[in-house]
Amino acid sequence: MCSKTAIPLFIVLSAFFISCINNKGVRLDELTVPAKNSFAHAERFTVHKKDSCTIVTIIDPWQGAEKVRQVYYLVERGKNAPQNAEASQIIYVPVRKIICMSSTHLAMVSALGEHRAISGISGTNYIFDDVLRSRADSGQIVEVGYDSEINDEVILKTDPDLIMMYGIGLESAGYVGKISELGVKIMFNADYLETDPLGKAEWIKVFGALFCKENLADSIFQAEVISYNSIKSSIEEGKFSRPSVLLGLPFRDTWFVSPGNSYISTIISDAGGKYLWGEYESSTSMPFSLEAVYMNSLNADYWLNAGNATSLADIAALEPRLTRLPCYTSGRIYNNTKRTSPGGGNDYWESGSLNPHIILKDIASILHPGLFREHELYYYKKLN
């Protein structure tokens, strides 16, 4: 009898101990990755306060990264950094000089009124914003190069408080390895991996923390959430059929099809459209044969984001067979190239990341012509 009760008791006790250990493990995780608050959309970063510093954690900062966590301790100038932090993790805030490696970062810094802090940019030719472009022309913003061509000497001379890095893959870390070794702080920005449009916009909170303007960043983001959701719900209220949408352009006879779990397909869906490859989930674009894409695209009502095509003739010259598509013959092709600078910069990639509600409204008014009659297309234009 005794042994018979002892065995279940033992099992219960061990289960209890194991659960305790597990609980502890979970709690440790939560320290670095806190539970998402109810209004959070971003999946690639968290920001939370601990003692006197702000902890920013970047989650899986590049394509294909798994369980990579980059933790930064944002410490106010003059205060002491936490003991356990390594030097490369400590960023003294507010940041006074920042180098931005992607155009999406520019709009967020500018929105916080900190455009004077931008001291270097990757691709100064492609800036759309007038203010920033004139600062680049006058030499107040320097060109720092990109990828393997990052100009270490220029960066060291600029002496930035932080480089906001953008990297497609792990190798990007190698490009900045040398400058990181020399003490320049580098933060990876993974906004381009966010699939929720509001999640991408939420990255302004990271900049808010860096410039000690958390409240301003929060209110900008909240305003964005409200406008995005109100447009979205007004579309949901209307009872429309969902027009189907084709995206992109082929490379020779291969069409790299954007997957259904992407940023743009979320906006199309929110705008009351149906992306033709909406059911395909992938972290990268998928190489499909032109034949297969053509066949599926016969059902497309609209064709959006047609690469760098600026006219119907561009598409006809690239691939004459595509002119047979119904969305081509009916002229329902729109591209996000309305706001481009002479140097080739496109505002869609610059301010668009912070203004998904405008992109949403653009696409919604394209797909449902009767819906927002007063709205004039902002990023998009019809190809003629």
Binding site: N125, Y126, Y146, D147, S148, E149, I168, L249, F251, R252, D253, T254, M286, P287, F288, S289, L290, E291, A292, V293, Y294, M295, L298, A306, G307, N308, A309, T310, D314, I315, A317, L318, E319, P320, R321, R324, G343, G344
Partner: protein, 353 residues
């Protein structure tokens, strides 16, 4: 002579040769038709047939007539052109490793394309892929290949030693590749992707006008090759021997170089540098016919090249799936085991040269 003995000992009988040719023709026809039936989009065989008589739905007709038929025709002509020019280069240089690109034709074409895709600033570049059409790549590849071809022919008309020309050709190719590498190094990701995709080759991107140009130029090259069969045989015996037989070595060489450049140059211009076929198919044909007589090898390579290329195209389409494999990888991956098997099975490959 050792080579002469080799020819006599291994030669197949005339009936057998004829039988193999009949089989080659049959296989080419079979795979050409199969290439029309198989593709990413599943189409019923009955619909494929009726689309030729205008009875199928317009969408299926478009797929067959506008996508699959031009691609199948391209495959056949590309296969023919590459294996033929590979055969010619192997004969002239008496070197089993020679191929259509040994003179630097593909490197010249690559440089031309690299200048268009990688050389300009970003906005123009993406327009190169998405804007001013695909003729720009064709023309630039052709100009690049043509310049290299003229240079080699100029050198060839002044130098008598064939090995010097081979070395110069390889040096030229390496030099041009180095320039392309520098351009790749200084280009952005999107440009690099566009260029890398070009180097992977593609058969299905030709407009009907381009297909006409390809067919005409490859046919001209094939015709010229048939006219030079005797000269190729003479080259196999060595240039001195050929000269003593009364052949003008330098002018023959120039004609054959021109022929190869037309064949390999136009293929590279339209479809990118498609590798392997040009080196492998001539070996395959030599081993099947067991001869080094170009009167048999030339038509044999034309047919076998077409067969191998259509098979590669079918595989690259991954029938039934929407996805694609790059054609260049397919030609290598299916061809390499075949060639290794043949070469190991038959030890005296040198006897063929």
């Amino acid at each position: 002579m050792e080579t002469a003995q080799g020819i006599k000992l291994q030669r197949r009988s005339g009936t057998k040769v004829r039988l193999i040719f009949v089989m080659f023709v049959f296989l080419l026809a079979f795979f050409f038709v199969l290439d029309l039936f198989l593709g990413s989009v599943n189409i019923k065989p009955a619909d494929v047939i009726s689309s030729f008589f205008g009875n199928a739905g317009s969408d299926i007709r478009t797929i067959i007539m506008q996508f699959r038929l031009p691609k199948a025709v391209t495959s056949v002509f590309v296969g023919m052109a590459l294996s033929l020019s590979g055969l010619q280069m192997q004969a002239i240089f008496r070197n089993p490793l020679a191929g259509p690109y040994v003179l630097g034709v593909s490197s010249g074409a690559s440089l031309g394309v690299a200048i268009v895709i990688l050389g300009f600033s970003g906005s123009v570049v993406t327009a190169g892929i998405g804007g001013f059409g695909n003729w720009i790549l064709v023309v630039s590849a052709w100009v690049g290949a043509g310049m290299v071809m003229m240079l080699i022919m100029f050198i060839s008309s002044r130098l008598s030693d064939i090995m010097t020309i081979l070395i110069l050709g390889i040096m030229l190719a390496s030099g041009l590749s180095a320039i392309v590498t520098i351009m790749q190094y200084f280009s952005s990701e999107s440009m690099l992707k566009a260029y890398v995709i070009w180097t992977m080759g593609s058969l299905g991107n030709l407009s009907s006008g381009q297909l006409k140009v390809l067919v005409i130029s490859v046919s001209a090259g094939v015709l010229l090759s048939i006219l030079t069969i005797k000269r190729l045989n003479a080259f196999l015996l060595g240039e001195n021997y050929a000269g003593s037989m009364g052949m003008n070595v330098k002018s023959s060489r120039t004609i054959i170089f021109a022929c190869t450049s037309i064949l390999a140059g136009s293929v590279t211009a339209f479809c990118g540098p498609i590798g392997f076929i040009g080196i492998a198919v001539p070996h395959l044909v030599r081993n099947i016919f067991r001869t080094s007589d170009h009167a048999i090898l030339v038509p044999g390579s034309i047919l076998a090249g077409g067969i191998v290329m259509t098979v590669s195209d079918i595989i690259s389409q991954l029938p039934g799936s929407e996805r694609l494999l790059p054609i260049n990888s397919v030609t290598s991956l299916i061809g390499i085991p075949v060639v290794i098997w043949i070469i190991l099975r038959k030890r005296n490959n040198t006897a063929m040269f």
